[in-house]
């Protein structure tokens, strides 16, 4: 028998996402299966009962999203997984989670849209919906891994971010990452950081669920542990009850958006390659980033000074960081499986036009398509 690397496994992105969620401490999943995300629910239906967790298949995505908010209010790390049409249905309650500051993770394995769109084919067209799908100025964090290993790591980080900041976190995957079987070396448990929400130590008699503190992140109290408080989607004051007092309304909305602003430097993460002497920069995320890495590596072999900027966190968007890069870079190329959603943000950041490489036919952008654009710019 050949020697087996015991920590290495062949895993898909969907499998890695499900396993990582359990490692992160997720013990409640409420969902409704939908291609190409279904394997996440399939794995968790089997795995959650093994670790004392609960799996519920709900009647639809509206209810699924509601269950994870409820479970999280009881102090349990919660998650759902869906794709385009289901993600649309979840928007109302995503807003509720954002407004009520209930930690939760929503995995959206993107498909082509709008509507039923391309169930079995990859797309990256939910960038804007992930940020602005629910109404009103609201806080949300969106992360976008590109490999099976990154999916594992970023699912855990998604839970850490939502627990730490009490902001819903969306994990944007696509069909390529969701279904590719890839070598995955499972990290040792002691190397993994797990963050839990900060809980109040105040007596239930005096506890106020949205009491202002220096961190702008209110202290949590689990339902079912003696604390009774009101949770509402209406604008509310520190007690959690609805208010129409302009000062209190303003204080709430200001704090909700300030939370994201003041912590964005800690939240934003990205990876660069060959950027030091680069004259051309590719900005990419998700599976398109894999095509881009190949294109950059091929171009470097031909002596072209091109570098790579991979977004791990797409919201909050790294405007300042890309803006600073602009002085060094003569052209930005943005490949994505949509018609220019991230390109628009990069353009805002660098205050100039970018070169777009787009595909919306259900196929992954090829390295050659990006390489051709790189060559066009470099002559």
């Amino acid at each position: 028998m050949a020697k087996q690397n015991v920590n290495a496994k062949l895993m898909t992105g969907n499998e890695a996402c499900a396993e990582a969620a359990i490692v992160a401490g997720m013990r409640f999943f409420g969902g409704y299966p939908i291609t190409p995300s279904s394997e996440i629910a399939e794995v968790l239906a089997h795995r959650l009962p093994e670790v004392g967790g609960i799996f519920v298949q709900m009647e639809d995505e509206l209810a699924s999203m509601a269950t994870i908010i409820g479970a999280s209010l009881a102090g349990v790390k919660s998650m759902t997984a869906t794709s385009g049409p289901g993600f649309s249905l979840m928007q109302e309650n995503i807003g509720y989670a954002s407004m009520t500051e209930v930690p939760c993770v929503i995995v959206n394995v993107q498909r082509g849209g709008p509507s039923t769109g391309l169930p079995t084919l990859p797309a990256q067209a939910d960038v804007m919906q992930a940020r602005w799908g629910t109404h009103g100025d609201h806080s949300i964090i969106v992360v976008a891994p590109s490999t099976v290993r990154e999916t594992y790591d970023w699912t855990i980080k998604a839970f850490n971010l939502t627990e730490q900041y009490r902001i819903p976190v969306i994990v944007l995957l696509d069909e390529v990452i969701a279904h590719v079987n890839e070598k995955m070396v499972i990290p040792e448990p002691e190397t993994i950081t797990i963050i839990d929400r900060k809980r109040s130590t105040e007596s239930p008699d005096t506890y106020q669920p949205y009491k202002q503190n220096d961190s702008d992140i209110p202290l949590f109290a689990d339902f079912g542990t003696g604390y009774r408080y009101n949770v509402t989607g209406l604008s509310h004051d520190e007690t959690g009850f609805p208010t129409n007092d302009p000062q209190k309304i303003n204080a709430l909305y200001s704090r909700l958006s300030r939370k994201l602003e003041r912590y964005q430097d800690q939240i934003i993460e990205y990876k660069t390659e060959y950027l030091k002497d680069a004259e051309i920069c590719i900005v990419a995320f998700g599976s398109s980033a894999r095509s881009a890495y190949r294109a950059v590596r091929l171009a470097r072999q031909q002596g072209i000074k091109v570098g790579m900027f991979q977004l791990f966190v797409i919201w909050p968007f790294p405007y300042k960081i890309l803006g600073r890069l602009a002085s060094q870079i003569k052209a930005f190329i943005v490949p994505e499986m949509n018609l220019g959603q991230i390109a628009h943000e990069v353009s805002c950041a660098i205050k100039s036009d970018v070169i777009k490489v787009n595909r919306v036919d259900g196929s992954l952008i090829t390295p050659n398509e990006i390489l051709e654009r790189i060559k066009n710019v470099s002559v």
């Binding site: 050949a2 087996q4 496994k9 390529v176 590719v180 079987n181 070598k183 091929l298 992954l364 090829t366």
Partner: protein
């Protein structure tokens, strides 16, 4: 850039091509210590429709996970062969089941035309394991993944009780090619 080898296994749904791809990727990644990815055509496909499974093996991190310059193409149907033979790399390998692919394409690649399904039926006793016969041939033809690694991966992936049948099919395929190239 490092070593990168691209396999595409093509034919019809139900021929076990996706499982074959997973075995190949697992052999490379888990038992041979290389990197590997496996992906497949994914759609509302039923048994009998076209099916495609791709494996990339590399000694470094695999960026682009799809096959674009194929080093080995396996075709179980004429349709697959007509569709994919133009993607074969210069000096790449085309392995076809001569029982199904009669119109052999021309190109800058090496062609191995063998009655894979017939071998499975007559020499192993079950046409069902034609995919494992093909896997044996692929292993011997490409030498990208070790024979031991593939055997280990087969044992970990095939249903209990069918280990002997599958290993036998694999070995018969492996020996056919080895004997031919001697």
């Amino acid at each position: 850039m490092g070593f990168r080898f691209e396999f595409r296994l093509s034919g019809a749904g139900g021929q076990g091509l996706i499982l074959t791809g997973k075995i190949l990727a697992e052999a490379a990644a888990i038992y041979d210590g290389k990197n590997a990815t496996q992906s497949q055509s994914y759609g509302p496909e039923a048994r009998g429709g076209s099916s495609r499974s791709e494996v990339i093996v590399s000694d470094e991190e695999i960026d682009y996970p799809k096959a674009v310059n194929i080093d080995l193409l396996l075709c179980f149907t004429q349709e697959a062969c007509d569709k994919y033979s133009m993607d074969i790399n210069k000096n790449g390998i085309l392995l076809i089941d001569s029982g199904f692919v009669t119109n052999v394409p021309k190109g800058d690649f090496r062609i191995y035309s063998l009655p894979i399904t017939e071998i499975a039926e007559k020499e192993v006793g079950k046409s069902l394991v034609a995919n494992l016969v093909a896997l044996g041939m692929i292993t011997a033809l490409t030498k990208v993944v070790s024979k031991e690694a593939v055997e280990s991966a087969i044992l970990s992936r095939v249903p209990k009780g069918t280990e002997e049948l599958n290993i036998n099919a694999f070995n018969i395929g492996f020996d056919k090619v080895t004997a031919q190239s001697k």
